[in-house]
């Protein structure tokens, strides 16, 4: 391999290593990600919101009441919210959940496999997946009512298309 090609390959690798999952990508398998906790049994064919969060992330704290509301509003309509915790210690997650209870499903990515494959750019980041498991919407960060309205519009759009 010539030097030019080697440098180009390195540059492409560097770009690939820094890019987050984007709209249209297939979301990595949740079942193969060795997540701690119980995944909902019937995810197939459902709209899934995968939200990466941590106890040390302030916007994550603000996002929980909204995610609880969305869960209450859409759980019966085939929408599953999955909070994926990326704390270093399980105790940090448990402490957070005592203060900010979640009505939606929480799992822990202790080995950081799933978060590394999603390669998120900021905390929190959430992906809205359609019934086929493809990423349809991405939310980088949480911005209060703006994000909440976007969630509702996007979920309604996916439910209509179902």
């Amino acid at each position: 391999m010539s030097l030019n090609k080697a440098v180009l390959a390195l540059a492409l690798l560097a770009v690939a290593a820094t890019s987050q999952l984007k709209v249209g990508d297939a979301f990595p398998s949740l079942a193969d990600s060795k997540l701690e906790g119980q995944l909902p049994a019937d995810l197939a064919g459902k709209i899934v919101i995968v939200d990466f969060w941590a106890s040390w992330c302030s916007p994550c704290k603000a996002s929980f009441p909204v995610l609880n509301e969305l869960h209450q509003q859409y759980a019966d309509k085939g929408v599953v919210i999955l909070g994926v915790n990326v704390d270093e210690k399980r105790a940090d997650m448990d402490g957070f959940l005592k203060q900010h209870p979640a009505t939606f499903t929480i799992v822990r990515d202790a080995e950081k496999k799933l978060v590394a494959r999603a390669n998120i750019n900021t905390m929190p980041t959430s992906f809205i997946l359609d019934a086929t498991g493809k990423v349809r919407f991405v939310h980088n960060g949480f911005h209060g009512d703006t994000t909440k309205k976007q969630y509702i519009t996007e979920i309604d759009e996916l439910l209509k298309a179902k």
């Binding site: 030097l3 030019n4 080697a6 440098v7 390195l10 990466f52 941590a54 040390w56 992330c57 302030s58 916007p59 994550c60 990326v86 704390d87 270093e88 940090d92 950081k112 978060v115 590394a116 390669n119 998120i120 750019n121 900021t122 905390m123 929190p124 980041t125 960060g141 949480f142 911005h143």
Partner: protein, 68 residues
């Protein structure tokens, strides 16, 4: 191209670590905040002003977690 290759090699060997967003728990800790002690901050500002005639223009918004 050789210069670019050398530059890439130097950057790769420099020891700089790219901390991923989900790895910032330690950086997000309260003790990492520059403004956690108001008295120490005032002292530092006074020292910079009196020794270096420097005032303001310091600090950036946001915490160490780099969230949002």
């Amino acid at each position: 191209m050789k210069r670019l290759a050398t530059l890439l090699l130097v950057l790769a060997a420099s020891g700089c670590a790219n901390v991923k967003p989900w790895e910032r728990q330690t950086l997000a800790d309260y003790t990492m905040r520059g403004d956690r002690d108001p008295i120490a901050e005032k002292n530092a500002e006074h020292m910079w002003f009196s020794r270096e005639s420097a005032s303001g223009g310091k600090g950036v918004g946001g915490g160490g977690c780099g969230c949002n």
